[in-house]
Structure formats: structure tokens, C-alpha cells
């Protein structure tokens, strides 16, 4: 009996698996292996060190600036860090960043979902593939080019739309236009929407493509129209994917710098009307104020950058959490 139990136990001994965390005792004794493991683990640790350093250094410089600040950092409408006493606050920047990103999301999310559906369910297969390829390429167009295009092509073309909005919706106060150049937060929202279209489309498309074929065929077999198939099997399946895609897009819109800096005619105040020039965003403010900033001015800009950092961390973290629930795809490369 003893012998048989022993023999049956043999296969149960832990086998050194390739991807097993602990290297086998013999493997670890080889100097080559130890060096290589050290190098690769070191690189992994370096990534952690960089992230910790970013948080630590930004917090340190921000603390220096906030120590001198005489105004409330979160509610003050002023930005005068080199004044005596220094006064600066992020209320205007937070308002501008949120408003422009919300406009961008409202425009971009439905359209992106539409294009993603078009590619996966409506267009002929070859055309869909070609469009997907082109949109992949467009995701790589740098923001500075969007900025140049926005300032020299989009802005002149928006006067008609501004006039129309003022005529018909001006009474709301939100769309009142005083006839200035259309370089307002509303324009920024439109431009950001165009910039984040490709990324939201790419990720949504990946999700829609993974909808189990059987679900769709079952719906079709019950006599559903194409729209009913999409509403009943594609959209419910892809909802979490679309949400995380939108949040990745939002993360990009929040941190966008150059396009906003080139197009927005910024000033440090909050307007009730979206069509009036003025306002600013975190990233734009850093880029535009950096040149003439003094030492404390730079620290104040770093403090506002820290706020942007925290906001994007939260948004991206939420997106990643939703993605992590569905392990099948990764939006990281999109």
C-alpha cells in the first residue's frame, strides 16, 4: 500500500513551470540567470520609482508654492503668483477644463459609437477594414497639427455656426455671442471631440467585434431587424467597453495642451456664455504662462499640474478598472 501511495504522489510534486514566479533553485544559482533576473526586475522597479518620484516631486514643489499663496487655491479667480503677496487659484482652470471636456464627450461619444457600429455592422467588410485602418492612422496625428488646423481652418468656419446658435439659442444665455473671434471654450470642445474621436472609435470597435456571433444570430433568427440586433445584443454587451473607451478619451481631452493653447483666446475669468472668449484649462495655462513665470510662478503652475495629474489618474484608473473586468482586450495600445 505504501508503495502505491508513493507512486501516485509523484506527479503531484510541484513541477517547475516556465512562467512560475520563483525560478527553480538550480536556475537561480547560475550567474547569468541571476544577472538577467536582476536587470529585468530592476527595470520593473524603476517604473515604480518613476511614478513615485513624479508624485513626490510635484507634491513637494506644489507645497512650496501653496505655502506662499495668500488666496484660496481652489476657489480664487485670480492667477497672480508673482504679485506681492502671491495669489493664485484654479477655479477658472477647473471650470474651463471640465466644460470643454464635457462638450467634447457629448459630441464625440455618440459619433464614435456610430462609426464603430458602421465599421463592424453596416459597412461592407472591405470598406470597414479600410476605414478602421485610416482611423488608426488618424489617432497618430500629433496635437500640434490639430492645433494649427483648428486655429487656421476650423475657427474661421465656425462663425456661421456661432451666429446660428446666437440667433436661435442666444436667449438661454449659454449660447450668447458678442461677435468676437470664435476662439472660446465651445470651439475647444469641438476640436477636442475631433481629436478623441479616433481613440474612442478604436476601442469601441474592438468591443463590438467581440460580441458573440451566436447572440446576434439568435436575435436575427427571431426576426429582429438590424437595429434591434444592435440594441438587444451588441450594445448591452459592449456597454462597459464603450464606457471605458470614453474615459480613455476623456483622459486625453483633459490633458490636451498645445491644441488648446493655440486655439483658445484665454483670460482669467469665467463666462456664463460658452461662446464668449476667455477662460482656460490646466494644461493650456501651464503652456502659456510658463515663459514669463518666476520661480514661484513655476511652482504655482506645478501645483495646478498636480491637480491635473490627480484628475487624470482618477479618470484613467476608473477606465482601467472597467477594462480589467473584461480581460480579453487591452485598450492600452489604442
Amino acid at each position: 500500500m505504501d508503495i502505491t501511495t508513493q507512486t501516485t504522489k509523484v506527479p503531484q510534486t510541484p513541477q517547475p513551470s516556465l512562467t512560475d514566479g520563483k525560478p527553480t533553485p538550480r536556475g537561480a544559482t547560475r550567474p547569468g540567470d541571476r544577472i538577467f533576473l536582476g536587470l529585468s526586475r530592476g527595470s520593473g522597479i524603476l517604473v515604480l520609482v518613476i511614478m513615485a518620484a513624479i508624485a513626490a516631486f510635484l507634491t513637494y514643489r506644489a507645497a512650496l508654492a501653496l505655502g506662499e499663496n495668500e488666496a484660496n487655491f481652489f476657489t480664487s479667480l485670480e492667477w497672480n503668483p508673482s504679485g506681492i503677496p502671491p495669489k493664485f487659484g484654479i477655479a477658472v482652470l477647473a471650470f474651463g477644463t471640465i466644460v470643454s471636456s464635457v462638450i467634447a464627450m457629448v459630441i464625440a461619444v455618440p459619433i464614435s459609437v456610430g462609426i464603430a457600429l458602421f465599421i463592424t455592422h453596416y459597412a461592407p467588410r472591405k470598406l470597414g477594414g479600410a476605414i478602421a485602418y485610416v482611423i488608426d492612422l488618424l489617432a497618430a496625428v500629433p496635437s500640434i497639427v490639430y492645433g494649427l488646423w483648428g486655429a487656421l481652418v476650423l475657427v474661421p468656419h465656425l462663425e456661421g455656426l456661432y451666429g446660428w446658435l446666437d440667433d436661435y439659442l442666444g436667449w438661454t444665455g449659454v449660447f450668447e455671442w458678442n461677435g468676437g473671434a470664435p476662439r472660446s471654450l465651445f470651439t475647444i470642445g469641438i476640436l477636442l471631440a475631433i481629436m478623441i474621436l479616433p481613440i474612442i472609435t478604436n476601442v469601441s470597435r474592438e468591443v463590438f467585434r467581440q460580441v458573440p456571433r451566436m447572440h446576434e444570430e439568435a436575435a436575427l433568427a427571431l426576426g429582429a431587424t438590424r437595429w434591434e440586433v444592435i440594441r438587444m445584443s451588441v450594445l448591452p454587451f459592449g456597454r462597459s467597453g464603450v464606457i471605458s473607451a470614453s474615459m480613455l478619451g476623456l483622459g486625453r481631452a483633459l490633458g490636451e495642451t498645445m491644441a488648446v493653447a493655440m486655439v483658445l483666446s484665454s483670460s482669467f475669468d469665467i463666462n456664463a456664455s460658452l461662446l464668449d472668449t476667455g477662460g482656460g484649462t490646466f494644461a493650456q495655462n501651464i503652456a502659456s504662462k510658463f515663459n514669463e513665470a518666476t520661480v514661484i510662478g513655476r511652482d504655482a503652475l506645478i501645483a495646478s499640474g498636480l491637480v491635473l495629474f490627480v484628475i487624470t489618474l482618477l479618470v484613467n484608473g476608473a477606465a482601467r478598472l472597467i477594462i480589467a473586468r473584461r480581460k480579453e482586450y487591452s485598450g492600452a495600445n489604442a
Binding site: L18, G21, P23, R30, G32, I35, S40, R41, S43, G44, L46, V47, I50, M51, A53, I54, F57, R61, P110, I111, G114, I115, F118, Y122, I131, D136, L137, A140, V141, P142, S143, V145, Y146, L148, W149, V153, G160, I194, L197, R226, W227, I230, G251, G255, T257, M258, A283, I286, A287, V295, I302, G305, L308, F309, T312, L313, R320, S330, A332, N333
Partner: protein, 353 residues
């Protein structure tokens, strides 16, 4: 529900359906009506008549289809038109972006433009070129690549080949977080360490460090995906022959996935080449040729575009140069992208199935 007034085909089992040319007929009708209305009302913008036509098309096809085919089919038609409208709406700005960049960019883009700097050219005058900016971009991006590729590839190897437990989980999570860092924040970080604490001046290298913070996570992610595709049988065969693990990784795993890794690195390069914000904070810009990336401000293509735009004073010459530089930048990035995707398709790892 269905009245077979318009439908030529009707059987007892199928509801009435509209013929295939119906959509085209409504489209032609609404375009004509849109043109007619805008001509009558004296509207000049082509966007307006297109919008009128689109609205007429959606309403018209819904009304007729609801009458003939029933509510559900009509809704389906409306959804189809809305999806097409979404697609066309997105195509207009993106196509305009490419078209305007090419049209305005080719004006001054020639051999002279590519081989001369802005040394003695005033911003408002024609002439000058982007040689100094191309040089700076290549050096900064090259340095960033030299920093990021070893770190990124080794981190990916750690995650796939060794990583288990808390450290690996933490690294995975923070690589994800790092992907989402806004480029201006990466610039501010290097600014606070390199410039404010170590008291160094602006240089191409400072910019490269910020760019590599943006590049490392992209390299890690794509390399990780590729290493995971390498079949385990290959590793096992090599280990069974007594080859040490590190030699297995270097001689078996990496060569198998090298095509995919190259693709990932090239896409990462394409991504950071157009980054402007960190360069604005750390490298600044100059009109002169500076071949040394470790000292003094250096030009780069994105900053060149920004400078020409800011200092144009409304003169066309500077705008022309900005567009030409934008075209050069886009062409460079697009070629990198296409070559990278080509390599990916050509050298796709054999998954053993």
C-alpha cells in the same frame, strides 16, 4: 399594419418590403429638395443644404417605411441613416485636416526647405527651412528611444517570464497608470527635478527624459502582448535541452517575437515624435542649428510649428512654413506607422496553431 400600396413583392409569409432602390430614390429626392430650398432661401453654405437634405432623408424614409413596412422596419432605417450620418460627420473634419495640411504644406516644401535653418530669416519673411528642427527632433526622439527601449523591454520580460506576486501586480498597474499621464505633467516632473532641483538649463536631453516617461509604458504594453504570444512549447523545448533561462529568453523568446516588438517600438516612436508640451517646457526652441542635445535650447518640428504660428504676425510666409513643417511631421509619423503595421503583418509570431 402594412398596406401594399408601394410594394411590388408580397407573399403571405413576408411583410411588405420596399425595393432596394428606395433608399437611393429618397436620397436623390432629398438632395434635390435641399438644393432647391437653399437656392430659394439664398443660403450660401454647402453645410446648410447638406444638413437640410440629411434631415429630409431621415424623415422621408421613416414616413414612407412606417407606412409600408411597419414601425420596426422604419426604426431600423432611421438607425441606419443615423449611423451613416455619424460616419460622414466624422469624415468631414478628419478629411479636411489631411487635405488642408497637404494642400497648404506643399507650397514651400522642397529640397531647400529641408536643408536650411531659420538662422538669419525674420519670421515675417519667406525663405528659411526646417533643417535645425529635423535634426533636433531626430536627436531627442533617438535619445528617448535609447532610454525607453531597454527599460521597457526588460520590464515586459520581467512581467511575462518572471513576474508573479505583488511586485508584478504593482508594476502592471502602474504601467497602466503611466499610459494616461498627460504629456505636460511628464514635462513638469522633469522640470522640477532637472531644472529646478539640479539647476540644469534647457537641453534636448531634458526633453528626451520627459519623452521617455511617455514612451516606456507603450513599449512595455506592446512587448508584453508579443511575449505572451510566444508558444510555451518553444520555451519548454529549450529548457529541456538544458539551456539556462536567460539564454532561452535571449535566444528563443526574443527572436520569435522580435517583429512584434519592433512594431510596438515604432508605434511608440511615432507617438512621441509629435509631443510638444514637454519640449516647450524643457528644450525651448531656437532658430539656429544646435547639434548638441546635451546643451542649450534645440529646435524640434512640433516647436517649430508652434513658433511659426505664434510669431507669424499674420504674415502668410510663417503660416506656409508652419504647414510645410506639419506636413513633414505627419508624413514622418504616417510612414513610421505604416511600416510598423507592415512589419507586424509580415512577421506575425507563429502561435503554433
Amino acid at each position: 399594419m402594412s398596406h401594399a400600396t408601394l410594394s411590388p413583392r408580397r407573399s403571405s409569409l413576408r411583410g411588405a418590403t420596399l425595393p432596394k432602390w428606395f433608399a437611393w430614390a429618397v436620397a436623390a429626392g432629398s438632395v434635390a429638395a435641399g438644393l432647391g430650398i437653399s437656392a430659394a432661401a439664398g443660403l450660401e453654405s454647402s453645410i446648410q443644404w447638406a444638413l437640410i437634405a440629411a434631415v429630409l432623408f431621415v424623415l422621408g424614409s421613416y414616413a414612407v417605411s412606417a407606412k409600408v413596412e411597419g414601425r420596426r422596419q422604419a426604426k431600423d432605417r432611421t438607425a441606419t441613416s443615423l449611423v451613416w450620418v455619424a460616419f460622414l460627420l466624422a469624415v468631414v473634419p478628419l478629411a479636411s485636416l489631411m487635405w488642408e495640411t497637404v494642400k497648404r504644406g506643399v507650397k514651400v516644401l522642397d529640397g531647400y526647405f529641408l536643408t536650411h535653418s531659420m538662422g538669419v530669416v525674420a519670421d515675417t519673411e519667406p525663405g528659411g527651412g526646417i533643417y535645425h528642427a529635423i535634426l533636433g527632433t531626430l536627436e531627442q526622439v533617438g535619445l528617448a528611444t535609447v532610454i525607453s527601449v531597454p527599460v521597457g523591454v526588460l520590464t515586459a520580460i520581467y512581467l511575462v517570464e518572471y513576474g508573479r506576486g505583488r511586485l508584478a501586480k504593482a508594476v502592471t498597474f502602474f504601467v497602466d497608470v503611466m499610459t494616461g499621464i498627460p504629456s505636460i505633467v511628464a514635462g513638469l516632473f522633469i522640470l522640477s527635478v532637472w531644472v529646478l532641483m539640479l539647476d540644469m538649463g534647457p537641453s534636448g536631453f531634458a526633453g528626451s527624459m520627459a519623452l521617455s516617461i511617455l514612451m516606456i509604458p507603450v513599449v512595455v504594453r506592446s512587448t508584453e502582448e508579443m511575449l505572451k504570444l510566444v508558444p510555451n512549447e518553444l520555451r519548454e523545448a529549450s529548457l529541456a535541452l538544458g539551456v539556462p533561462k536567460w539564454r532561452t529568453i535571449l535566444k528563443v523568446v526574443l527572436p520569435t517575437s522580435i517583429g512584434g516588438i519592433t512594431t510596438g517600438v515604432m508605434l511608440a516612436i511615432a507617438r512621441i515624435t509629435g509631443e510638444t508640451a514637454p519640449v516647450l517646457l524643457l528644450v525651448w526652441v531656437t532658430n539656429f542649428i544646435n547639434a548638441n542635445p546635451f546643451q542649450d535650447p534645440q529646435a524640434s518640428l512640433p516647436m517649430y510649428i508652434y513658433l511659426q504660428y505664434q510669431n507669424s504676425g499674420g504674415y502668410g510666409a510663417a503660416y506656409d512654413r508652419a504647414w510645410a513643417a506639419a506636413l513633414t511631421l505627419i508624413a514622418f509619423i504616417m510612414i513610421l506607422n505604416m511600416v510598423a503595421r507592415g512589419i507586424a503583418r509580415w512577421k506575425a509570431p507563429k502561435t503554433g496553431r
